[in-house]
């Protein structure tokens, strides 16, 4: 199963109430307001809603939206 970048951005925007236009590959997760706690929610969103197999530990190592997309596409 593959998930489009668009679908991932859409899901993140909806779940965290962030404008979708800000969720671009070069955006850093920190600038979007994510921290070690909320990244756990991000991982859960990717697993549950998008079927991306990703661990909390894997997500804690990424820095940008682009990293998340790469991880999602590699693992989906």
């Amino acid at each position: 199963m593959t998930v489009s970048n668009e679908a991932i951005a859409q899901a993140i925007a909806a779940r965290f109430n962030i404008e979708q236009s800000r969720i671009v590959p070069e955006a850093s997760l920190e600038d979007l307001g994510f921290d070690s706690l909320s990244q756990v929610d991000l991982a859960q969103l990717l697993r549950k809603k998008l079927g991306v197999q990703i661990s909390d530990a894997q997500l804690s190592e990424v820095a940008t939206v682009g990293d998340v997309l790469a991880l999602a596409n590699g693992k989906a």
Binding site: D35, L37, K48
Partner: protein, 405 residues
């Protein structure tokens, strides 16, 4: 040791009457009600509320407003306003360990807790947000605001239900009196317009069911039938007089006295003789070192419930006489629960500053059992020097504050 005098150097208000001091005062002094039908409460037994108009979390200027419960968002916005009003800049403290943050609330992040409980039941434990507690806990407005302001002194979140905001100001006064802090950013915040809170208050018959929404909050009126639930925050910058003088700050007035008591009677019904209310007011006068005769105006708790208003008015009359000027600004704002004490303290100070006693909105036919000088219709224009503000919470928890111009 002589207690350090406490002055108010800044106020911030985010309430149903508006965002900012000017909008609030105009609406409160004109006695214009804010209660309106609330679409989010359509499935509830009572569908009226007092909402903060034009509130947008963008106003907070933080990159992650979605990690803040609504009550903490109100607290931060009001705190920023209060700092600006005081001419202070967050983070540029001379000694951050002498700057405290005290924010009272009754319900804390109840919206977050209710939403996540629904997630737990529908999706299971794995889907519960990792932010549930950082957003839901009752102390988090204080914690998050302290982080934003870089304030490293005591950080507290008193809960005395609907007296919480007043408790916060009283605790702030104590810290300054004792010389522990130079500056305390203190007040109350509440965002309780949620299904659980409205359903529970409705079940207690505490909420007005008046079909005329804007006339529903009518403290002291013979036809009052409950309060209207409201949201918002009121924040103060309190400073030791010495600290304020040293930096040339403008004083908006002095917090002279703080008194607290318990009814020790019943969880929700006031003591029938208003014993707890009287004890709190007496304690505040003692703390201020003044006689009852010096007080010119009482900003009452005045919830618009059948139980509170008559008993409170009797306690006021007993202590101050039947000629005491009394009004309740809840006719305008509804009842902001744990934020009420702080926003009403602000209105009390503004009344002193402007020499105008705000009227009780919607008060047309005063309850004949009430024998004090109720201000209704127009604001009463007269110089006032000392005023007292009452806040009483479920649990029989009472707080009175005395302010002077």
């Amino acid at each position: 040791m002589v207690a350090e005098a406490v002055v108010v150097t800044g106020i911030g208000l985010v309430t149903p009457a508006g965002i900012g001091l000017e909008a609030n005062w105009q609406r409160v002094v004109a006695g214009q009600a804010t209660a309106a039908p609330d679409q989010t409460l359509e499935a509830m037994p009572v569908g009226i509320s007092c909402r903060v108009p034009s509130f947008d979390s963008v106003l907070l200027g933080v990159k992650n407003p979605w990690q803040w419960d609504r009550y903490a968002q109100f607290a931060l916005l009001a705190a920023r306003q209060a700092l600006e009003d005081a001419g202070l800049e967050a983070g540029s403290w001379t000694d951050a360990s002498r700057v405290a943050v005290i924010i009272g609330s009754g319900a804390g992040g109840t919206a977050t807790l209710e939403q996540q409980h629904a997630v737990l039941l529908s999706e299971g434990a794995d889907d519960v947000s990792s932010l549930t507690l950082p957003m839901g806990l009752l102390n988090m407005a204080a914690g998050q605001v302290a982080i934003e302001l870089g304030a490293r002194g005591p950080c507290l979140a008193p809960c005395s239900a609907c007296a919480s905001g007043a408790s916060a100001l009283g605790m702030a006064k104590d810290l300054i009196n004792r010389g522990v802090c130079d500056i305390v950013v203190a007040g109350g915040a509440e965002a309780p317009i949620t299904p659980l809170y409205v359903a529970a208050f409705a079940k207690m018959r505490a909420l007005s069911r008046n079909p005329d929404a804007s006339g529903a909050s009518r403290p002291f009126d013979a036809a009052r039938d409950g309060f209207v639930i409201g949201e918002g925050a009121g924040m103060f910058v309190l400073e030791s007089q010495a600290h304020a003088r040293a930096r040339g700050a403008r004083s908006r007035g002095r917090l002279l006295g703080y008194g607290a008591s318990a009814d020790a009677h019943h969880v929700t019904t006031p003591h029938p003789q208003g014993l707890g209310a009287r004890l709190a007011m007496q304690a505040a006068l003692r703390d201020a070192g003044i006689e009852a005769g010096v007080v010119d105006y009482v900003n009452a708790h005045g919830t618009s419930t059948p139980g509170n208003d008559v008993i409170e008015s009797h306690a006021i009359a007993e202590l101050f006489g039947t000629r005491m000027l009394v009004s309740s600004t809840k006719g305008v704002t509804g009842h902001l629960l744990g934020a009420a004490g702080a926003i009403e303290a602000a209105y009390t100070l503004l009344a002193l500053e402007h020499g105008r006693v705000p009227p009780t909105a919607n008060l047309r036919n005063p309850d004949p059992q009430i024998a004090v000088d109720l201000v209704q219709g127009q604001a009463r224009v007269q110089p006032i020097k000392v005023a007292l503000s009452n806040s009483f919470g479920f649990g029989g928890q009472n707080v009175s504050l005395v302010f002077a111009a």
